[in-house]
Subunit: 218 residues, 2 copies
Amino acid sequence: MTLSEENYLKAIYHICNHKEGGVSTNSIAEKMDTKASSVTDMIKKLSEKGLVDYKRYKGTALTQEGKLVASNIVRKHRLWEVFLLEKLNFTWDEVHDVAEQLEHIKSEKLTDQLDAFLGFPTRDPHGDPIPDKDGNIKTVTDTLLSTLQKDDRGIIVGVKDSSSSFLKYLDKQEIALGKKIKVLDTEPFDNSMKIKIKKQEIVISNQIASNIYIKKSN
Amino acid sequence: MTLSEENYLKAIYHICNHKEGGVSTNSIAEKMDTKASSVTDMIKKLSEKGLVDYKRYKGTALTQEGKLVASNIVRKHRLWEVFLLEKLNFTWDEVHDVAEQLEHIKSEKLTDQLDAFLGFPTRDPHGDPIPDKDGNIKTVTDTLLSTLQKDDRGIIVGVKDSSSSFLKYLDKQEIALGKKIKVLDTEPFDNSMKIKIKKQEIVISNQIASNIYIKKSN
DNA sequence: TTTAATTTTTAGATAAGTCTAAAAATATAT
DNA sequence: ATATATTTTTAGACTTATCTAAAAATTAAA
Ligand SMILES: [Mn+2]
Ligand SMILES: [Mn+2]
Ligand SMILES: [Mn+2]
Ligand SMILES: [Mn+2]
């Protein structure tokens, strides 16, 4: 299993989680930041190895085995993110890039022991669930903050966008996982909303609100 | 800096530490388990990049910059070995293979924070010194157990051979870093020796004794 | 249902890293 | 000093992963 193969499997895995059914060559190319022709080549190889189901012009899907390999990479990625944040004083906008490297380290013992060392965490620093060894993962059923109505309350449980710039914005506004919020008002014109968080009132754009996951509390 | 380039620099670094002056193409090939022709190609590239001094047929040496890069990889390797042993319940014969992968993770913050997290260790699980950020390293001046005479005493401070099979042998004999030993007798015929360790008397071959570093205590 | 646009695949080229086999340089032995 | 052996380098080939450009299949539009 080469680095490149692993990254392709992971990309397909992530796209699959959003859209059901086959994955298009172009969508993989976009996520991987490569050309479609490169994707076709790689998919053929993964197909030979029994990691994806592929019929030309028809799209690609992970096999059982491919899904297990991919989820294991995601598992490692998220465990390492927890490690970096909890043990090594990284901030939640710094962990992803390093985890992109660490997720490819091959050692089952390492992964298991890391899991135990961290106290078997269920979510990564961005609120995303951590798959178990068999690829089982809590499907995220959280609602987006942008879908809440006036007077709705909830707790922040995750972010959809994990980019460094977005996370830094949240830090600046003191918006963090676990915080209680209440929607004070919504503005129909641009879908911005006024919310109360930590006894402060702030206005956030729809772009922000549609990247924050909430667990509604009433 | 590719994975392959890093491994070549590390190989040259390790050979240099034993032999002074230029390093032969063949010695690099042997350490890297590749062909001499491959080494020549790579050395040319490293030379272009200013990481090694190279004149054809004359041998290779690390430049200041190359030495710094190499020692940083060794630094990471040994820090990770400490981490795996101290925090993740690895045994000292298991840490090396995983550290071979982890040493290539690129993040200065990660290395620094790991160093701090581990309490700034000075030696890895095999007794080898850990270089600092600037490439400074305590040169090992320890003596080999095989050079001791009858009635000499000392403390085990390191191993020369870090192979899994050797380390497992030591575990079986309960020979470990920090243990006090005394040479009870030496056998001139095959250079084996009888030693006292943990109040037990055991006989070890010269091959064993010449792979254990001792700090003489009188 | 033809035609046009889009998506996907193929064909051919390139770069990195490796190999084998042969040539060149250096070292060793008679 | 000359012949022989060893070491090192070059030449050419192969694999993996990528790209561009062109062809083929599919989808959308007229
Ligand atoms: Mn991430
Ligand atoms: Mn994450
Ligand atoms: Mn090691
Ligand atoms: Mn070591």
